[in-house]
Symmetry: C2
Subunit: 357 residues, 2 copies
């Protein structure tokens, strides 16, 4: 049986629950490796008891489930058997009393319907922790996504020319990723000139002119796993001030990566990068230094000033310091890192020398 | 003040509520015309009392809200003032006792936090009804989305050639739409040959060969409003049987559109198209004949066998009959229609003569 299920069933025993009802799409993908269900409508639930697993979905998915989902018994829901009724039958069969539910995913109306049959539910929130440590198979998938991300970066450098718009570059990134069998893990950020001073700038019709900073932040989703990378390049010769910003951000990132060799406190990692930037006379980073990544583009751990998260072997996360000067521009450099026994290893490999186009 | 707000405040009075808390992104877009908030994370709420409207969101959106959102007073939420605390202050200010919430959108954990302050909440579900009748401004936006959809169809016909894959065609559709300033309203369906017999086929690596049916179902989102259209064309000379299927589907659609002149029962409209297909010896349509559309690609009304929905002036909906023969292939033809005083008017204009490529 798959390792996450084993972990999860151990959790069920430890938390004194009789079963867990999984509704969130990312957790369903994690446990089944199947990503065919809609993110917008509720099309499936998993019910996991101490020693048995069920998937509840409708007839449209019967073939896929039988072919692609191992370890789960299918219960087909329909106009004659709602998901809630099916759960009620399982409740009777296994004498389920206390069931964990995902209160941060389940809607109020779904919960109301469920409560008619199951009075005793309790928030189950441990999936995030379980998912934060990646298996070898997951790491390999993230590496493949990163590889396509690196190829996308090489491709897009060739598209950067005078007069092209941010939106056009963003579309080219997306098109390239899709033509190579991937999806985007989030809408690409492309920011020219002073737009690069806005950390989450939405690409618009701004057109590239000489002297612009070009900030590119994008990710690939491949086999359900995400990559995420930011590079900042210069269209024309960078000014002395731009060069300095770039060098400070790059060095700040390196300081965080170096500290990972000896220190696994996520707040300390955030701190070393942040303090370096401040010491060089720049404003503090207006966002976290990094975030875990996997099926979702933002997962545990948090790498931020006040987090209590501890970085562990098998965690994959971003390290992404930045300097943002309103009306001037910004520089961000982001890589994905896996923490291994011997220390951190980079998963993104696009060049970080200062690139002038 | 904007007309939907006037309607909504009338509803508040009629339903005996003191206020409504709007959380769903589509309803926020509808009421504010602003679409910058995430669909994945909760970033904003609207609180609408009988005579006053508030938008609660965080500092990232302050500039946008002040610039782009009329009629709503901004309450900035932060680490010092959560959305729930802000709502509690408004509750005290307006002596709110009974508040409508969107139980099909709000999460269980959000509801739990809210209930600490607001014991008396009630499901408010009338937004779907309000949104089903489109204003002139909304119709004009849908028409523009349909126009770009028609242009996309002309463009994509030129891309259909031997050896291209379904995924490649789907990506070309998406790229074209985005390069022309739109978004996709849903992931395009591209189905070759027997894949066209699966109504919601997901484009795969199947490559086009002579004799394939090519089913194309895609939509544009422009200025927050969606289009949706399906065309089925033939790569190579269609067989007599394929021609007959095409003609039956086309005539079935025409029968539904014709009946709209005199009959506004949605189930009757579904029935006339469905019965014609059955009378010609084909299986019944395995889906509804149509659906309303607007900010979401699926809205009210339902046009299905057992619906009680009545079609009214100002409603915009699809009419999309289809014949699907497993292992042979399928034909679907879909247009958007607005019901006007004088009858139905088509909003999609791509050709429907049998196209052979």
């Amino acid at each position: 049986m798959n390792a996450p299920l084993v972990k999860l069933q151990k959790e069920i025993l430890e938390t004194g629950l009789d079963a867990i009802l999984i509704s969130s799409i990312s957790n369903i993908i994690f446990l089944t490796n199947y990503s065919g269900f809609s993110r917008d409508e509720r099309e499936a639930y998993l019910l996991i008891t101490k020693n048995k697993q069920y998937i509840l979905t409708d007839g449209r998915y019967t073939d896929d489930v039988r072919k692609l989902i191992k370890d789960f018994e299918l219960i087909e829901i329909s106009s004659k058997l709602s998901a809630i009724e099916a759960l009620n039958k399982l409740k009777a069969k296994y004498n389920l009393k206390k069931v964990g539910i995902e209160e941060n995913d389940l809607k109020v109306n779904e919960h109301k319907a469920l409560k008619k049959y199951l009075k005793n539910t309790q928030h189950f929130n441990n999936m995030h922790q379980i998912r934060s440590i990646k298996s070898d198979a997951e790491i390999s998938k993230i590496e493949k996504a990163c590889k396509l991300g690196d190829e996308t970066f090489s491709f897009i450098l060739k598209k950067i020319k005078s007069g092209i718009s941010e939106k056009e570059i963003a579309n080219e990134i997306e098109f390239f990723i899709k033509q190579h069998g991937g999806e985007i893990s989030f809408s690409p950020i492309v920011a020219f000139g002073k737009n690069s001073a806005v950390p989450h700038h939405v690409p618009d019709n701004s057109r590239l002119i000489q002297g612009n900073i070009v900030l590119l932040d994008f990710g690939v989703k491949l086999n359900n796993y995400c990559s995420d990378m930011t590079r900042t390049v210069f269209f024309g010769k960078p000014t002395t001030e731009q060069k300095k910003m770039y060098e400070v951000v790059l060095k700040s990132q390196q300081k965080a990566i170096d500290l990972l060799m000896t220190n696994h406190s996520a707040s300390k990692i955030d701190n070393v990068a942040r303090e370096y930037i401040i010491a060089k006379g720049y404003p503090s980073i207006p966002h976290s230094l990094g975030h875990g990544i996997g099926i979702d583009v933002h997962e545990l751990p948090h790498i931020s000033p006040n987090t209590k998260d501890v970085l562990r072997e098998g965690m994959v996360f971003s390290i992404e310091p930045g300097i943002y000067l309103p009306n001037l521009g910004g520089v961000r450099i982001e890589d994905l890192v896996i923490l291994e026994k011997n220390g951190p290893r980079l998963l993104t490999h696009s060049p970080k020398n200062l690139i002038e186009i």
